[in-house]
């Protein structure tokens, strides 16, 4: 456990994603630690998030607490499972220096950072859960926190991709093959590629992630509805979020 926390700490400090390593296409991140770390961090946020369902005045249920604790890390990891193949192909086509495993590790690292920030906001969510009964407010607050931590995770990813797609520093004379030609492209073209890959990933992961969240709902647990592990398939994330916003004002 201590080693796990140390690994997460080193990741947050950027020790595992040094620019020179990324430029060389190396990532020494321990994938197992990233997965377990993500599970623990996501669960801890889910625990705070699920308190609302467990403490609501009408029909409180501890099942919501357990369900949300499990669902938050699952949301991120399942989204990765669904999107990883396309993300990998996209980056490989753009000439990424990262191999299959390294690409997976990089994405796991971004998720771990995202979840670390989310977990750190857990006490704030817990505080608001215990001090408010407004369901729409809790929905909007949680979407806001997921959004903020997602932006930080994406900022990490964008910075990493910039280094991954950065031009190679001149070393010894090498045989000129396709990869070298790609590596020797003008820096602005390579950084454009990094940006394009990032944008592609952003769209794919963002859309799938939002819909995965919708499929796995309820996370907070509506006070008007009995507990269910999953709700019926209907509507989509955006419609649900705007409905919560409207109910907050009305």
């Amino acid at each position: 456990m201590r080693q796990l926390l140390l690994d997460i700490d080193r990741l947050l400090r950027g020790r595992y994603t040094k620019p020179e390593d990324l430029r060389a296409g190396k990532l020494s991140l321990p994938a197992r630690a990233l997965i377990f770390g993500s599970l623990i961090l996501g669960s801890s946020y889910g625990l705070f998030m699920g308190i609302y369902g467990a403490t609501r005045p009408d029909d409180p249920t501890v099942m919501q607490l357990f369900a949300t604790t499990a669902k938050v890390p699952l949301l991120f990891l399942l989204t990765l499972v669904v999107t990883f193949p396309s993300l990998y192909v996209l980056s490989a086509l753009a000439g990424s220096r990262l191999k299959f495993q390294e690409t997976l590790r990089l994405l796991l690292a971004a998720i771990a950072i995202n979840l670390a920030l989310l977990a750190s906001l857990g006490p704030v969510v817990g505080f608001f859960t215990l001090s408010t009964q407004s369901y729409p407010f809790m929905i909007v607050l949680n979407v806001l926190f997921f959004g903020v931590s997602g932006i930080v995770g994406l900022a990490f990813l964008r910075r990493a991709l910039r280094h991954v797609f950065a031009p190679k520093l001149p070393t010894a004379i090498e045989p000129v093959d396709a990869a070298t030609q790609l590596a020797n492209l003008p820096s602005h073209r390579r950084s454009d590629m990094g940006l394009s890959v990032f944008r592609g990933w952003l769209v794919v992961y963002g859309v799938v992630g939002a819909q995965m969240g919708w499929v796995l709902r309820p996370f907070v647990g509506s006070p008007d509805l009995p507990f269910t592990l999953f709700r019926e398939r209907e509507s989509n994330f955006l419609e649900g979020f705007f409905n919560a916003l409207l109910r907050l004002f009305s």
């Binding site: 400090r13 704030v124 407004s134 930080v152």
Partner: protein, 217 residues
């Protein structure tokens, strides 16, 4: 007496975070409780009901410390992600000094509050006046925070982001906590109580609803 000397040193310090490191933690906590309680007691004395004086006295130190504690885990992670972990102990000491300054400034303003209560018995005036006192104390403590952060930002400009993150989250949480801990003054028409009815309301929801009603009338 040691407490007064300590408060004096804190208010005059160029680098308050260094002073916080030198003073024992127990004394810092005591200073926060005493100064916060003092202002809270005066704030709750508008209707001269001893129970409200006690309740309000207890609430101000809770308000000043609890919101910081709720926000600290996130602040720790944000500092770490931005590569500012080495400075985190300094920043925390700076935050402690900021909260202490706020408590001390509030305590120093309590005679003004007492005079204001003597001048007018109007409840709404008392609410506005105390709001003004809290605003003044917040501005002074913000200056103190700026003093703590200035050398850090000079050395690493990323500290500016951390400062903004801290202020945003801290204010967001403090507003709700203050709403929960109402009444601080105690409406004359209501009996003294530690919490008001509707403690589980949400400050933001109430404000949004009122605004919405106002705009759609």
């Amino acid at each position: 007496m040691k407490l007064v000397a300590c408060a004096d040193a804190l208010l005059k310090a160029d680098a308050p975070e260094r002073l916080v490191a030198e003073v024992p933690g127990r004394r810092l906590v005591l200073m926060l409780i005493v100064a916060g309680f003092f202002y809270g007691a005066v704030m709750g004395s508008s209707t001269l009901r001893p129970l409200q004086v006690l309740y309000s006295g207890l609430k101000v130190p809770i308000l000043l410390s609890a919101s910081s504690l709720v926000c600290l885990p996130n602040f720790f992670v944000v500092n770490t992600i931005l590569g500012l972990r080495e400075d985190f102990p300094t920043v925390v000491r700076g935050l402690v000094s900021t909260q202490l300054t706020m408590a001390l400034v509030l305590a120093s303003l309590s005679p003004l509050t007492a005079v204001a209560y003597l001048s007018s018995g109007d409840y709404h005036f008392a609410v506005v006046f105390n709001g003004l006192m809290f605003f003044v104390a917040s501005v002074v403590s913000h200056v103190q925070l700026g003093r703590v952060y200035a050398p850090l930002i000079r050395e690493r400009p990323r500290h500016r982001v951390c400062k903004v993150v801290w202020l945003t989250l801290y204010i967001f949480v403090t507003i709700q906590l203050a709403w929960m801990l109402r009444p601080f003054i105690g409406a004359p028409s209501l009996p003294p109580s530690f919490f008001r009815e509707g403690i589980w309301d949400n400050a933001y929801v109430v404000v949004f609803r009122d605004l919405w009603t106002l705009l759609t009338k």
